[in-house]
């Protein structure tokens, strides 16, 4: 759906994006992560045809994309990091949406606007001037604008920054709903906990280079040094942690209230062995969860220079 091939952007001697090859599949929510100054926005601007790459190619819908392809631009929706709200502050939210509906030739404007404004809780203020809107309301309006023409691909650059928890939930639900409707979503955000909840696959870049591109589970597995298995029991008999520690695949074992946490080697799934051991001890596990690392932890590990080299030596992804 979205492909970049060896995309590079240089500003003088500084390389902002270096040989970046991404592949976003149809119908997925793709997270684009990186620390500040990693080259995320530069990449997005090249993908949208606003910035000319120094070299490399961009493909949308399997067709080569450039700023001249207005037919392809018609099929995408964009929520930029900074919305130029100051520009349209003297018109109402509805008038603002009408302008873009005209531009994108939206035929079912009334139904579409009502549906989207309802989803983000802005229907009541559709006739209010944008100058009265908070930053969060403007952000939600920007998302509505990007979805107005039912795009096949939605580019979101920091879509939840400036939103309160309720707003974040609304936008998250809207993104998930639109994805279920078949839209491919390319999302760049610093809010890794949110990305973890919604993304199918993520790419991590640092200093313009791609460090990893993988599904969430694969990425976390790659970043993790070990696995934590959380076992909830009715009661934990004394000495159980020590018994686990004696197993050759267990690195550590400790308790937290009625939960036993067993740290095991990364390679291999040891849950069956653990469950069988517990049953043999007449202990019935009420719940068993396996956790690697959070996306935030994986991100931190992967973007560290030494791990960056390690990941690259292991094949890049």
């Amino acid at each position: 759906m979205i492909k970049t091939r060896a995309l590079t952007k240089r500003f003088g001697s500084f390389t902002a994006v270096d040989d970046l090859t991404l592949n976003v599949r149809a119908g997925e929510i793709y997270g684009f992560l990186g620390p500040n100054g990693a080259g995320k926005t530069t990449t997005i601007l090249m993908m949208l045809g606003v910035l000319k790459p120094t070299s490399g190619e961009m493909f949308l819908f399997n067709e080569e994309f450039s700023h001249r392809r207005l037919d392809l631009k018609q099929k995408i929706g964009v929520v930029p990091e900074r919305h130029p709200a100051g520009m349209w502050k003297w018109i109402t939210a509805r008038e603002y949406l009408e302008l873009f509906a005209d531009l994108y030739r939206v035929s079912n404007f009334e139904d579409r606007v009502r549906h989207l404004l309802e989803k983000v809780n802005l229907l009541e203020v559709e006739n209010k001037k944008i100058s009265n809107f908070s930053r969060g309301m403007i952000q939600k309006l920007s998302i509505v604008r990007a979805l107005l023409h039912e795009p096949d691909i939605l580019f979101l650059d920091e879509p939840i920054s400036g939103l309160d928890p309720m707003g974040i939930k609304m936008v998250r639900d809207l993104i998930l709903f639109e994805n279920r409707e078949g839209r491919t979503i390319f999302i760049s955000s610093h809010m890794l906990s949110e990305m973890e909840k919604i993304c199918h696959r993520v790419a991590i870049i640092s200093k313009g280079k791609l460090l990893a591109e993988a599904t969430m589970d694969t990425l976390m597995l790659k970043a993790a040094k070990d696995r934590d298995i959380y076992i909830e029991l009715e009661h934990i008999p004394g000495g159980l942690e020590e018994q686990f520690k004696r197993m050759d695949f267990v690195l550590d074992s400790y308790r937290d209230d009625n939960t036993l946490i067993v740290k095991v080697l990364k390679k291999g799934d040891y849950r069956k062995i653990i469950a069988k051991f517990l049953i043999d001890q007449n202990l019935i596990p009420l719940k068993m969860d396996e956790k690697f690392v959070t996306l935030e932890e994986a991100f931190t590990i992967i973007t560290q220079d030494n791990v960056e080299k390690l990941v690259k030596n292991r094949g890049g992804t």
């Binding site: 606003v50 207005l70 631009k73 018609q74 964009v78 930029p80 919305h83 130029p84 520009m87 531009l103």
Partner: protein
């Protein structure tokens, strides 16, 4: 309809509506009509049995003094030999043109600065659609106001027994193409600068340069700038819409239709080249 054309149509319609609902255009148009009326009425008051006598009317007395001191008496006599309408048209159009061009350059510069141009570019439009919409909006209002002035002056001419000759209409057409050329410089100014204030400064700076060189060369040397050989006159001869316009006006006076058509064609070529340059500049320098 083609995506680009549809974007031009949509954005132009928005710009026209924005101009119609703000008071600026009406104030500028009222001022223009007032100046036009004063000049036409003053001209009729300057005619007695001896013919045209500027001293009979205080407004024309001052105007003729100022113009004579810069261009000489023969220029002033020639200017008004066709009646007051050319001069009155130019003066009446000036406030409207200044308002339209300065508001467009400022607004375009502001919209580019805050990222509105970039946002529109994410969709099925491009910087060219955006620039062209500004140009078309200004041409629409300039043409509408010019038409109003033509009707107003035609009625005045009829009531005061003046004759509006074909030369006046040629003058109006030539002004239209001059406006296209000058506004194209406005768009180029925006694409070459980073904020609205510097866009305006560059635009008026260029306009002043072309006007001062055009008027100054005649006032100082008594020669048209096209006849001078200097680096500045070379720049003006190639890049000034005012130069092409004066060539066209003089060609019309001498009945040289091919030269007149050539000057119009060159004004169009210059405008297209400027718009093309602004498009490249916006792409290379970025749309914010």
């Amino acid at each position: 309809m083609n995506y680009g054309l549809h974007a031009v149509k949509t954005i132009t319609r928005r710009r026209v509506l924005e101009t119609l609902i703000t008071p600026g255009f009406y104030i500028a148009a009222s001022a223009g009509l007032f100046f036009g009326y004063i000049l036409v009425a003053g001209f009729t008051g300057s005619i007695d049995s001896g013919g045209l006598t500027f001293s009979l009317n205080p407004v024309y007395s001052q105007i003729s003094k100022i113009l004579s001191s810069i261009f000489g008496n023969s220029f002033v006599e020639k200017l008004f030999s066709h009646g007051p309408f050319r001069f009155a048209f130019l003066v009446a159009l000036l406030p409207v043109f200044c308002y339209l061009s300065s508001s467009s350059v400022y607004k375009f510069g502001f919209e580019k600065n805050v990222g509105a141009l970039e946002l529109l570019n994410y969709g099925p439009s491009n910087s060219f659609s955006f620039s062209l919409a500004f140009l078309l909006k200004d041409l629409f209002f300039s043409a509408s106001f010019s038409l109003l002035l033509v009707i107003f002056f035609s009625i005045s001419a009829f009531l005061n027994n003046f004759i509006i000759g074909s030369d006046f209409f040629i003058f109006v057409v030539m002004i239209f193409f001059l406006v296209v050329g000058v506004l194209s410089y406005g768009i180029l100014s925006v694409s070459l600068t980073d904020n609205a204030a510097s866009s305006l400064a560059l635009f008026f700076g260029l306009l002043m340069f072309f006007s001062v060189v055009q008027i100054g060369s005649y006032a100082v040397t008594g020669e048209y700038v096209g006849n001078l050989s200097s680096a500045v006159s070379w720049v003006v001869r190639w890049f000034s819409p005012v130069f092409y316009w004066t060539v066209g006006i003089r060609a019309a006076e001498y009945g040289n239709v091919p030269l007149q058509l050539l000057s119009i064609s060159l004004l169009i070529v210059l405008s297209v080249a400027l718009l093309f340059m602004s498009r490249i500049a916006l792409f290379v320098r970025g749309m914010r």
